[in-house]
């Protein structure tokens, strides 16, 4: 069970909101890069977020660049999962490949600051603040397996290949 507070964002949060291209020179210095997570969407995000908290987006979260540094800095900030109505496909795959769960559900009823409980096995999000329980779409089997191993590289290290 994952527990934490919701940080709510709107639709179309791009990879440039999450980690702007202007910080590309820090991509081989991840601790420094991570200080800028979500900077162009909420400049104080890194100061406010606590380990286990959730990013709650609207539609088309993570659109734009293929930079894996986007889900990476979110994970490094301590976020335990991303919830959104829809997620851009490269970001989706990158997050799972790093072992960061991405849950597709109707996030309209979740407000900034709500206390959430996520049950990955059951596929549910319980909003303790509003009392509402949501279900999220099940991931394809291959993504569940990758998540289970903590990411794509450990998954391939374990199995030596993709298993379908």
């Amino acid at each position: 069970m994952l527990k934490g507070k919701a940080f709510k964002f709107g639709d179309n949060i791009s990879t440039d909101h999450i980690i702007p291209g202007r910080y590309a020179y820090l991509r081989s210095n991840l601790p420094e890069l991570a200080k800028h997570a979500m900077e162009d969407a909420d400049p104080d995000f890194v100061c406010k977020v606590n380990k286990g908290d959730f990013i709650v987006g609207g539609g088309n979260f993570g659109l734009g660049s293929s930079r894996e540094h986007a889900p990476l800095v979110i994970k490094m900030a301590g976020v335990s999962a991303i919830l959104a109505k829809s997620v851009a496909r490269i970001f989706f795959r990158n997050a799972i490949n790093l072992g960061l769960p991405v849950l597709i559900c109707d996030t309209d009823g979740i407000n900034d600051g709500d206390e959430l409980e996520v049950d990955l096995a059951e596929g549910t999000v319980y909003d303790k603040t509003s009392g509402v329980k949501l279900t999220f779409s099940r991931l394809p089997e291959v993504m569940l397996d990758i998540l289970e191993e903590g990411g794509l590289v450990p998954y391939i290290q374990k199995y030596g290949d993709f298993k379908l």
Binding site: G21, N60, S66, H69, L152, V153, I156, L164
Partner: protein, 417 residues
């Protein structure tokens, strides 16, 4: 039931009957990374203890996003990539070669290929009939090691093209209209497949512009059939042997069809800060622009530079509007020099950048200050992309960009041609 282009290619490369919704493992014909995603790709390759590249001759590293390196940190990243290429004998396209997607089109992509790149605009090679898509560093590192990856076979949306462009209207206006119509998530997880009698009027440079921006509608790929236009292009690139005809089956199944009549299009601009936020250029007249940028994998080809040169010939840029031009590859630069376009543009007040991504992503060669507005021929206008998050980015065609450089405000090119 027949197959879409995406289903055909993924069937061939997975050795099975790939249908929309299936998960398949496909052999990869080309895998690459560039200088802002390459270092993490290399580190993931090393983290996985992968010893060898599956196919060194089908693995490439490109130096384009920050090239030549603008600071120490990126110089170190370049060094890491050069070292990896040397040790693993993969293809390397060092600074000055050009933008990865242009080089892939010129030299590497073949109809029917599966191509993955650690860059979202890898979709560009769909113009040549390649199932080409962007992935992150972990995925590409694993392709480097195994030579294959998994895909969910996408549903396809058919884009039926008819008619021909009017004066001052370009492929960029077509794709901006498409994204404005279906939205920035209008094709998420899906393939855009282009067809119709109007395709004969879209040459490969036009198709590259359109396929390049498929990802701005969320698409996994933007696929064109491989036809006579493709054959002519590969022949000009001295790659006739790489051609094979490729088309979707007549009875293939599409999620929906979108009709676009080229004749009805007009010069179009995407306004800050979303690509889907489009408007006719004429409606934005009066919007002051401090920098015009012509280049990138979207619009840095010879035809784009030729369009700008023809509009600006014998004229000068507006004094308070900077004009930055970056040819998409060394071949484009040489051809533009040979045709006299570079001379014309420099005489008009342009600054010429080395082949590469230049100002597109805010790392160097034209970073924007707060409050400034740029009319760019690139593919993204997200807040903060070109420098200050307080800057404003408008996207348009090379014709609109050149017209805007002349007047200092967003200008419909039909006013100046």
């Amino acid at each position: 039931m027949g197959k879409t282009l995406a289903e055909k290619i993924l069937s061939l490369k997975s050795g099975g009957d790939a249908r929309a919704g299936d998960i398949v493992i496909a052999q990869v014909d080309l895998a690459f990374a560039q200088d802002t995603t390459g270092p993490l790709t290399i580190r993931q390759f090393q983290a996985g203890n992968f010893k060898d590249l599956a196919n060194p001759g089908k693995t490439a590293l490109f130096f384009d996003h920050a090239a030549p390196s603008p600071n120490r940190e990126l110089a170190n990243d370049h060094r890491l990539m050069r070292q990896f290429a040397k040790e693993n004998h993969c293809l390397i396209y060092d600074i000055g070669s050009g933008v990865c997607h242009q080089l892939v089109a010129e030299s590497l992509a073949r109809p029917g290929d599966v191509i993955v790149g650690a860059d979202s605009h890898t979709v560009t090679a769909g113009a040549l009939g390649a199932f080409a898509t962007g992935m992150g560093s972990s995925d590409v590192a694993v392709v480097f090691a195994l030579g294959k990856t998994w895909f969910r076979v996408p549903e396809s949306i058919k884009i039926l093209i008819s008619g021909n462009f009017g004066p001052g209207v370009m492929a960029k206006d077509l794709v901006l209209n498409l994204i404005g119509g279906i939205g920035a998530d209008g094709a998420t997880y899906k393939a855009l497949e282009f067809g119709g009698e109007g395709l004969k009027n879209l040459k490969i440079p036009d198709r590259l512009t359109v396929a390049n921006m498929a990802v701005e509608a969320g698409a996994k790929v933007g696929l064109f059939p491989a036809d006579r236009v493709t054959k002519e292009y590969l022949s000009r690139q001295k790659r006739s042997e790489d051609f094979r005809p490729l088309s979707a089956d007549i009875d293939a199944s599409y999620e929906k069809t979108v009709n676009i009549n080229l004749t009805a299009l007009e010069p179009t601009v995407a306004q800050p800060h979303q690509v889907e936020n489009t408007a006719p250029a004429r409606e934005l007249k009066g919007t002051k622009i401090q920098q015009v940028f012509i280049g990138t994998c979207t619009n840095g080809r010879l035809e784009d530079i030729a369009t700008a040169a023809k509009i600006m010939k014998g004229r000068k840029r507006y004094p308070r509007t900077r004009l930055i031009i970056a040819p998409a590859s060394a071949q484009v630069l040489l051809d533009a020099i040979g045709a006299g376009y570079i001379q014309t543009l420099v005489e008009a007040g342009a600054i010429i950048m080395p082949p590469g991504c230049a100002a597109c992503l805010g790392l160097h060669q034209g970073v924007l200050a707060g409050g400034e507005a740029c009319l760019s021929t690139a593919n993204r206008n997200f807040k903060g992309r070109m420098g200050s998050p307080q800057a404003f980015i408008y996207l348009g065609s090379p014709a609109t960009a050149a017209a805007t450089a002349l007047t200092g405000e967003i200008t419909d090119p039909r006013e100046v041609i």
